[in-house]
């Protein structure tokens, strides 16, 4: 049997290859794998690869049933993708888009089994198997839905990506845009002239390749959630802080956060009996509090999430296991718990840090690492012997204009001289 080898077949196989590579990368790269959204998006990518592989094979051997099966695959691709994106946005699979797609998918299956859904035709110098009539219309609508959802996911990701991975997020978005918007324009043109299918597939391959490159560099792009986590705090059951970690500047006030942790500790026994987990809704976000035998863990976030609750529970469990010895000995030195950063990496690696809002955002170095010039330090210690005052002024010096230190010393001497004179003057008056 002679094979119907042509450019479209080659492009289909190339697309399938890139899609499989992309799917494998989404499987091996992320540190946190048990994420619903990622799971469904990965399924969509793999089925997408299979779909293009079937398209290539059906064209190569001019097999109509295979071509129709390829058309059917638009249904699971669209469903998986919608579920994935819905999970990203609201941690729930259901949406209006899901129901519509489900209905269209059932109709597609029905129409696909009717005679004449696809046929072999000679187009643009080679044999092709275009879908016909209602089957063609339904596959096109599902294809549009798929591309629409992909583009929407791309927009959401690039908008929510923190500054540190913005560059990769833009690369990701370029890939997504090429893959969805640009290729869809040529797909529409293909409805008029079949040669545009080659352009559309080529652009989709380039887009998918860029997408794969971006997620290889930064796998966190796959699960950038539209909410922010601010901070996690671990306290022992006496209320002493053991560990804290910030992802971004918190909207939930420190006093409120500490207050709730203290309140939870007061009702610890009852809470542990209930599973230890408590959500507290506050005006600017939510506090997830987890009470266990030795510690209370509090996490502040902008929105409640099952994923977050699970992560807090697992973090609490691992924290207690890792520091069992210190916790039993009632060790309260925060340095002893420094290595809990590893647990943050383990359980919260899918939440990118947003501590730096922009590259030009001003920063300071903690004053304990800064040293004053020797003479300044010596003179300052003479004037301000008390340690707290010294540290306060030292920290302020690094935040003040360059001449402030000289101005301070000069004002100090001026006032000292004034006080000495007044003292002498008062003494003289008393003597008289």
């Amino acid at each position: 049997m002679a094979l119907n080898m042509n450019a479209e077949v080659i492009l289909d196989f190339a697309f399938a290859l890139v899609a499989f590579i992309s799917g494998i990368i989404t499987l091996i790269k992320p540190n946190t794998r048990k994420i619903h959204s990622l799971h469904f998006i990965r399924i969509a990518i793999f089925i997408g690869g299979i779909s293009m592989l079937l398209d290539g094979i059906s064209l190569l051997i001019l097999n109509i049933p295979l071509s129709i099966i390829e058309g059917f695959l638009n249904f699971p691709i669209a469903l998986s993708l919608i579920i994935g994106v819905n999970y990203v946005l609201k941690e729930n699979y259901n949406s209006f888009g899901f129901i519509v797609t489900f209905g269209l998918g059932i109709l597609l299956l029905y129409v696909g089994f009717q005679p004449g859904a696809a046929e072999v035709q000679f187009q643009e110098g080679y044999f092709r198997i275009p879908w016909i009539g209602l089957f063609s219309l339904l596959t096109t609508i599902l294809y549009m839905i798929i591309m629409g959802y992909i583009f929407y996911w791309g927009i959401k990701t690039v908008r929510n990506a923190p500054f540190l991975i913005k560059k990769e997020a833009i690369l990701f978005f370029i890939g997504i845009t090429l893959y969805s918007l640009t290729s869809i324009v040529f797909y529409i043109l293909y409805e008029f002239t079949s040669v545009f299918i080659l352009v559309s597939t080529s652009i989709a391959i380039i887009g998918l390749f860029i997408f794969t490159l971006a997620i290889t560099i930064e796998p966190k792009l796959l699960y950038i959630l539209p909410f922010t986590i601010y901070r996690i705090v671990v306290k022992d059951n006496q209320g002493y802080p053991l560990f804290d970690y910030d992802w971004s500047k918190s909207q939930v006030s420190e006093s409120m956060f500490t207050g709730f942790i203290n309140a939870v500790q007061l009702m610890s026994e009852e809470l542990i009996k209930m599973g230890g987990l408590l959500d507290v809704n506050v005006k600017d976000g939510i506090l997830i509090l987890h009470e266990s035998e030795y510690i209370t863990v509090g996490l502040a976030a902008s929105k409640a999430s099952k994923l977050l609750r699970d992560s807090v529970t697992k973090f609490t469990f691992d924290f207690e296991s890792k520091f069992q010895k210190q916790l039993k000995e009632r060790c309260r030195d925060m340095k002893e718990y420094e290595s809990a950063h590893e647990l943050i990496e383990k359980h919260f690696s899918n939440f990118p840090s947003r501590l730096i809002p922009s590259k030009t955002h001003p920063l300071l170095l903690t004053e304990r690492l800064l040293e004053l010039p020797y003479t300044v330090e010596k003179d300052l210690k003479k004037i301000v012997p008390e340690r707290n005052d010294f540290e306060f002024i030292k920290a302020e010096i690094f935040r003040s204009p360059e001449s402030s230190t000289a101005g301070f010393f000069s004002l100090y001497h001026e006032i000292k001289e004034e006080l000495d004179k007044l003292k002498t003057q008062n003494n003289e008056i008393e003597m008289k």
């Binding site: 955002h361 300071l364 690492l369 004034e418």
Partner: protein, 234 residues
């Protein structure tokens, strides 16, 4: 050892992290405004660490609170300090105040009891530096005034804090010209105390001498309006 694969607990000891820290210190000592872009570019140039590794180091320094959000003070941010705001409000409310008075009043009335002289002077210097206040020298005193208040007005408020000065000026505002020798009788204060103050008031040109032989004094007409305003406020 590549930065990505070292244990979280060992991160701070990693040579690359230490090098980035040194660069951050250097930039701060050079009085440059530190930000991610400057630190990243400088460290990239000097250390040649790959982008992601360098960004991870900066991220770690932020997470460990070695690098903290904040900037050099500006006129807007310098007042974020609560005590500095209280101090400024005090100077605004108590025109013509001086160091000893500020210290004793704030020791009594503010939540920060017994603030050290060094710390108080630092706050005053910051208010001076950012032009919230100005200082005026009068005799042995350095007065602190809000920038918008004129030196004359500040001095008058300072003068009027003294009860005898207050009585003298009030008397002179009532009767335009008066003999120095009569003042102490009129205000019922000790002669030498009144003479001492009148001489001071002449010296700082709040009072003018008329009929030198009769030793009469009057309010300097230039000061009349300010004095009346100050008396109304006091």
């Amino acid at each position: 050892m590549p930065y990505d694969i070292i244990q979280a607990s060992e991160v701070m000891e990693h040579p690359s992290v230490q090098s980035v820290l040194e660069i951050a210190k250097e930039l701060i000592y050079q009085h440059k405004t530190l930000n991610t872009e400057l630190l990243y570019n400088t460290a990239k140039k000097k250390l040649g660490i790959p982008r992601r590794g360098l960004l991870s180091i900066i991220q770690t320094l932020l997470n460990r609170k070695i690098l903290v959000e904040g900037s050099k003070y500006t006129k807007d941010t310098v007042m974020n300090n609560r005590f500095r705001r209280i101090l400024y409000e005090f100077i605004k409310k108590n025109l013509g105040t001086h160091f000893s008075l500020i210290k004793s009043e704030l020791d009594i009335n503010s939540k920060e009891k017994n603030i050290s002289p060094g710390r108080l002077i630092w706050h005053l210097e910051m208010l001076l530096k950012f032009d919230f206040i100005k200082k005026v020298k009068i005799k042995n005193y350095t007065l602190f005034l809000p920038s918008e208040v004129s030196a004359d007005e500040g001095i008058i408020h300072f003068i009027l804090r003294d009860e005898i000065n207050y009585k003298i000026i009030n008397k002179l505002l009532d009767s335009n010209l008066i003999k120095v020798a009569d003042i102490y009788k009129e205000i019922e204060e000790k002669r030498e105390l009144v003479y001492y103050r009148v001489n001071n008031l002449i010296e700082i040109e709040i009072l003018l001498q008329k009929n030198v032989d009769n030793k009469c004094v009057m309010i300097n007409p230039k000061m009349n309006k300010i004095l009346k305003n100050a008396l109304r406020k006091s």
